[in-house]
Symmetry: C2
Subunit: 551 residues, 2 copies
């Protein structure tokens, strides 16, 4: 693949803290990535410095074959209102009876059947298998570009439309009391006050759910194939069959409804090789990971839509539940109607400060995870390539020496020759150990960190909702000063803003608790395996030493 | 330094097993080394293939500044007779009393004051310090070139003049009985017969000798400076002062006399930086290593010249002993006169076969050592560079993560943050450990192996003597068949050839015994240190794990 070169059309002074690089008019740059989106490319200067550049500031000098999917068109509707479900066939016939979920498109992976999804999941590009059986690092939209979601917390260029986002999700309507209808007792979600702040009521009856037995099935005389997974929730122990597109549907419902809860993306879609055993097993593991997190969540685990997904075995009931979930009266902004908050108000300034720290936390943690993943990905590759070869090279050099030493057959020499041969074997097998180690610890570590990145990347949307609420409240306070809103009206607005704060803080604490638990587990598992690894190396060497001691 | 390029004048079909590469007329090669000697250069083809080429087959395209000492001139007398000492001033005045050894040239390192030395020591080129305080791999004459010493055992091109070598060293004169004078009882060296074959009589009173306290001294009002070392033999405990040139003199005497014993080269000469502390300490260590090996040798340890070197403290006696050693009646070929062999004859065919295996042993072991040194040199550099950086990069990535986690100050999160910080520190210090490890085990290993290469490289000369004797004997048997030699004459020749065989076999066994002991020590020390290293890594990781367990 030839390098793509570009010439600067104008001078550009990049913001280094934002990952941008500066260049002069007429400067030649090598374009490294064109798939970042939103008008940004990644480029490398002749000095080796690499970073983001605005694509309109340069002209390409050579056009290679496309190596990445093209960026979305400029007017791509990033924030389409979620209240407009666009499933093509959503109201199609009950008359079609061949397959109870035939109404959905069968190509699980080939195309997104809803453009609305794009606003939630920027991670659904195809990916390769390879990479030692690990998912390739997700080719996400680079979040640091000026208008992207993540950047606003880190840069001053925050020109994003937080209010429009807030408005579109129905946050505005909620906070202004325009959607104030009655909530059934069973739909109420209680937030409790703890020493650490507001928290979701802990799960009363926690459960688990296994994803297993992926199976290739087909219909229409084999013209259409798909993979089904068996899901078995621990509370019922009744197995249900689900396809990837069902997970996709569930994911969309969760994102749509739980406006203040970050819902991690599903494992990536895949165009080719999606019926290969490795890929299927890998996807199953990723779906298991996703389901694990969802059923651990105190709000999501017992939500109607989740339970419907995990339990429904009947075609007709599935359709009913599906429609019910899509018409849920408490979607998005209206979700806050369900929150039963502690009976006091929030200190808006304090919460704002707290959220600012949390925004920084999320942004930094995302960067930290990214860099730990990159470093350990690299470390894995080194284990499986150079480190392995290094030890095997050493091993072979001793094996060769022992072959030479075997030319002298004197009894006084024999044991040494054997010991050196043994040492050669030991080093070779240490080389093998290096190759086999990453799947035991580095890959799981990378996988866990990648899962966290998935969560962290969905957080900005969640935080924008709270920011929108704060902004709206301030607007109302101004209107109150100007006499355009009554004290009572503003009081109500602030109460509802508090509800949004409580929900956001409860989820923030949930995130932190999960994080502490997950990172502890993650690191313990990783370290235990590393300790075992170095102990094994040590014992290989000790066995070699014993041979020499006896020589 | 610009690369030296050469163009092929004629096609050359190299013998790959001999390290040669093939090339076409007009092919462009990069010349990598010109100091290999004997008409060979090392070159690299455009394909990256690298090996030896005959210099007369190419013409240089660019002449860079010399980076190596030029190869010896074509008629360089490689096999100057050792019986012609060429020390310039060897008979100079007793009248000069300023310094008892003033008669020698003061520039220890600047030039070899005897061309004869070249025939024994091909390793005396200057070397750099650097290289982590290790000696640079010795820039020896590449032994695999067709006419060099080592090649004859490995290739069919053995056009070397083994007989002329044999003749020049006086082997011919000895075997033909032309030097058959009486040997004093005290000069006799007894070879005993053991289960493993002929061996030198073991050392009756083994001793050691320490080399210490290098000190810069000067004379001629500071115009001439030199370093003296203190030598203290354990049998006398009386300290003597010696300079490098005294070692050099001793080395030359040993090479000259002990024709069937490989005498390793001294540490390399050095032109610049030879008064720097690091260099002096390093040289002292190398001299200690050299002396250690010499005083362990059953024949050399109690030789007159050795004892003179280790004990003489008196100017006048030194000079006497020096002249005596230089006029030793049992030098080179005449050394065999001193051997008192077992009272039976040798099976010439069996010994020949044995020596052929040993030749292969020496050649292969030399190659093995070379490759183990190269691999471990590279491994050391990786420890001190990439491996260190790898672990530190990991360490810093965790340190950064803990900085982010510290943004959340909840008590439930604090211990995790601390544990991650601790883990970051642990990985950084593992990085440091990688940097500090090679001086503890890899460097000593490389040093020991390098010492062995020094011995192995002097072996071909020793083996040529035996080969010469075998050849001579065969000539005599032919003459006997042709009636040109009497049975009695041939009998005597064969007896003396047996003496050479006994001496060569005794030394071969001595070599093997030393080798077995040395390699055992070497590997034990290396493995012990490696085990310690991996245990330390393990305990660092265990300490990290404990932090998480308590989090």
């Amino acid at each position: 693949m030839a390098a793509v070169q570009a010439r600067g059309l104008y001078q550009f002074d990049g913001d280094a803290s934002n990952g941008e690089i500066s260049f002069l008019a007429d400067e030649i740059l090598t374009i490294v990535r064109q798939d970042i989106g939103e008008g940004w490319w990644e480029a490398r200067k002749e000095t080796g410095e690499q970073g983001l550049i605005p694509e309109t500031y340069v002209e390409l000098l050579s056009i290679p074959e496309p190596q990445f999917p093209p960026p979305p068109p400029p007017n791509f509707p990033v924030d389409l209102p979620v209240q407009t479900p666009t499933y093509n066939n959503v109201n199609h016939g009950d008359g079609q009876t061949e397959d109870w979920d035939d109404e959905w498109d069968d190509d699980d992976d080939q195309s997104s059947n809803s453009t609305a999804k794009q606003s939630y999941n920027n991670n659904n590009e195809p990916q390769g298998t390879g990479n030692f059986g690990l998912s390739a690092p997700k080719r996400e939209r680079k979040q640091i570009s000026p208008t992207s979601d993540m950047s606003k917390y880190g840069t001053v260029k925050s020109s994003f439309n937080r209010f429009s986002h807030f408005v579109k999700l129905g946050g505005d309507a909620y906070i202004m009391g325009q959607v104030n209808h009655e909530v059934r007792e069973t739909d109420l979600i209680k937030i409790i006050e703890t020493n650490d702040g507001p928290e979701w009521t802990p799960l009363q009856s926690p459960y688990t759910c296994t994803v297993s037995s992926p199976k290739k099935e087909s219909k229409m005389k084999g013209l259409k194939s798909f993979i089904t997974y068996h899901l078995t929730p621990s509370f019922s122990n009744i197995q249900v069959s689900r396809r990837y597109k069902h997970f996709d549907w569930l994911h969309e419902r969760l994102v749509e409804k739980f406006i203040c809860i970050p819902i991690p993306a599903l494992p990536d879609k895949q165009i080719s090789g999606r019926y290969e055993e490795d890929f299927i097993q890998e996807r199953m593991r990723m779906l298991q990971q996703w389901i694990d997190r969802m059923v651990r969540h105190p709000v999501i685990a017992h939500s109607d839509v989740m339970l419907h997904f995990l339990t429904c075995t009947n075609d007709k009931k599935w359709k009913e539940g599906k429609r019910k979930a899509e018409k849920d009266p408490y979607l998005a902004g209206k979700f806050f109607l369900c929150l039963q908050t502690p009976p006091h108000s929030c200190d808006m300034k304090a919460v704002e400060a707290q959220m600012e720290v949390f925004c920084r936390f999320v942004m930094n943690m995302n960067e930290n995870c990214k860099s730990i993943i990159a470093i350990n990905n690299d470390f894995s590759k080194k284990h499986m390539g150079p480190f392995k070869r290094e030890f095997q090279k050493i091993g072979h050099s001793y094996k060769n020496l022992s072959t030479t030493f075997a030319l002298e057959e004197g009894a006084y020499s024999l044991q040494l020759t054997k010991a050196i041969d043994f040492m050669g074997d030991s080093y070779c097998s240490i080389g093998d150990m290096f190759e086999k180690q990453p799947p035991k610890d580095l890959f799981p570590l990378i996988e866990s960190l990648s899962e966290y990145r998935g969560i962290l990347q969905t957080y900005p949307d969640v935080l924008k909702v709270h920011e929108g609420a704060v902004g709206k409240t301030k607007d109302c306070l101004k209107l109150q000063e100007e006499g355009k809103m009554t004290d009572g009206e503003v009081q109500n607005v602030m109460q509802r803003a508090d509800t949004i704060s409580f929900g956001t803080l409860a989820e923030m604490h949930n995130f932190h608790h999960e994080r502490v638990k997950d990172y502890k587990d993650m690191m313990q598992n990783y370290l235990k395996s590393q300790i075992e690894f170095y102990k094994q190396i040590t014992s290989k060497l000790e066995a070699s030493l014993a041979m020499f001691d006896n020589a």
